[in-house]
Amino acid sequence: MTSTDTPAPGRLARLRQSDLWWSFCHHKSAVAAAILLAALILTAFAAPLYVPQNPFDPAQLDLMNAEYPPYWMEGGQWPYLLGTDTQGRDILSAILYGSRISILIGIASVALSLVVGIGLGLVAGYFGGITDNLLMRVGDVLLSIPTILIAILVSAIVRGLLPPGLRDYGAAGVLVLAIVLSAWVQYARTVRAQAAVEKGKEYVQAARLLKVPARRIMLRHILPNTLTPILVAATLNFGMAILTEATLSFLGIGMPASQPSLGTLIRLGNQFLFSGLWWVVIFPVLDLCLLVVSVNLLGDWLRDALNPKLR
C-alpha cells in the first residue's frame, strides 16, 4: 500500500523525508495494519515451505486424521495446529493456500479495473464529446444496479456460457472479470472529472502548443495529477474485491471446492456449524476479517493523510 519497497536508494531517501512517511510513522493503527497485512501476505505466499501438507492434493489427505480439534484443545494432534476438517485436511494449510488465492484475485481485479477505469476515464475527460457521453451513460446504468448484483450476474452468466469442464479452471478468471465489471466505473468517473479540470490548465495548453502527442499528454501530464484520489480508492477497493470474491465463493458461484479460496472454505465449513466443528469455519472467517480490516485501516489512514484539508 505504501511504497516502502521502492528499490532505488535516491527514491528511498526522498520517501523517508516525505510528509506521507512521517504521517505513516506517527499513525499507530496504520503501522499496525501495515505490519499485519505484510505478515498475512508473507505467511500465505511462503506457505508451501512450512505447512504440514498440500491441502489441494487429495493424495496427501488421510481420513484417519479427520475432525481433529485445534492443537491446544483436548484431542488435538500435532502438526494440525488449527485442527482438521471431515476429510482430514489441515485447516491452517487450507487457510494459507486459500488466502493466497483470495489475495491474488484481489490484486488482479484491482489492477485490471485500474487499467480499464483510468484508460476510459482519461479518454472521456480529455476528448469529451460522444465517448464521454456514452461512457457516463453506461456508468449511470451500472451505478443503478447494486455492485454485488452485477458481480453475481456476470459470474453466473459467464459460468453458464462456459462448458462444464472448463468452469473449475476458469473460475478465477470469471471472478476477476465479475469484480472488474462492477468496480471500474468508480475509477473512470474520478479520473474523468479530474482530467476534465486539468485539461483546461496552462501546463496542458503549453504541452499542446509544443505538439506533444495526446497520448503522452494524457499519460505523462494529466494522469499524475489524478492519482491521489485513485490511490485511496484502489486501496479501499482491494478490500472490497477480496470481500466480493469471498461472497461469490460463499454463494457457490466462485472458486470450486478443489481450489478453495477463503470464501469457499467458509461455505464448506458452514455445513458443519451444527455438528460442533466450529474451527472449520471460524479460522477462515478470522483470517478473512484480519485481511480486510488491515486493508481498510490502511485505506482510511491514506485518505486522511492525502486530504489537504485535514493537514
Binding site: L153, A246, V285
Partner: protein
Amino acid sequence: MIVFLIKRLFNAVMVMLVVALMAFMIFRFVGDPIQLMVNEQTTQAEKDALRQSLGLNDPFPVQYARFVAHAVQGDFGVSYRNQQDVMSLIAERFPATFELVLVATIISLVVGVPLGVVTAIHRGRWFSEGLQFLSIIGVSLPSFVIGILLILVFAVMLNIAPSFGRGDVVAIGWWTTGFLTPSGRAALVLPSIALSFYQITLVMRLVRAEMLEVLRSDFVKFARARGIPAWRIHYRHALRNCLMPVVTMTAMNVGSLIAFALITETVFQWPGMGLLFLQAVTFVDIPVMAAYLCIVSFIFVALNTLVDITYALIDPRLRAARS
C-alpha cells in the same frame, strides 16, 4: 420545475430501458430458450413451430419491444425449472424479503443514529474512538460472516433464537406476514440484525460527520449561550439538522439492502426473492434471473428518482443547477 421533473423521469426511464435490454440479452443469448423448454422426443419441425409461435424468428428490436411490453405488465414468462409463472413465483417470495429489509432498516436507524450522536459529542474520548474503530471492523466484515457468527453464538451455542426459515406466517390476501406469530417474530431477529449491521455503521458514520459540522455552527453556540441544557441542544437542535442526509441515504440504500438480503437469505435459508434468484443462478433459470434484475433495478431507480425529486421540491437551488 416541470422541466426538471420531466428530465429526471426521462432519465429514469432510459436507465430502466437499458437494464431491460441487458435482461433481455441475457434471456435471449445465454443458451437457446427452445433447447431449454423442450424434451428429447421433440422433433425438429415441432421446435421450429415453437420458435415461430414464440416469435423468436422476429428481428431483434421487435423481440426487445415485446419483452419490454410484457415486462411492464409484469409478465416475465415461465420459469425453465418448474414451469411456473415467474411473476407469481416472485410475488410469493416478495413479502419475506420486504419484511426483512424493513426491519433491518428500522434497526439501522434506531441503533445507528444515537451511536453517531454519541461519538460526535464525545469526540476523542476512549469509547467514541472505540466505536469508531468498531465501525471500521463493521464495514470490513462481509455480511455472510456476521450471519454465521450470529448463528454460531445465538443458535448453536446459546440456543435462544431460530437460525433458519421464517417461522409460521399468516396470509393476508396474497401477502404473507411473519409479524403476527411468535415464531415468525423470533425468526426475524437474527437475519435482520445480520442485514442491518453494515447499514448501522454507515448511518453512524454519516450522523457523526454531520453532527460535527452542525455543532460548530452559530445557532448551536447561541443555544449554548442561552443556557439550554446540553442534551436538549444535541438531540433537539443539532440532530434535527442532520437528519435530512440520513433520510436520503436510507431511502437510496433500500435497493442495496434488497441486493444484500440475497446473502443474508442464503445464510439463514430465508424464503425470500434472493434465495429464489440464487437457486435460479444455480440452475441457469434465465427468466427468473432476468425478472429479478429488472425488479431490483426498478426499486433502486424509483427510489433514487423519488429522492431527487423530493430534494428539488425542498431546495429550489437544485432545480436550476440540474435542469
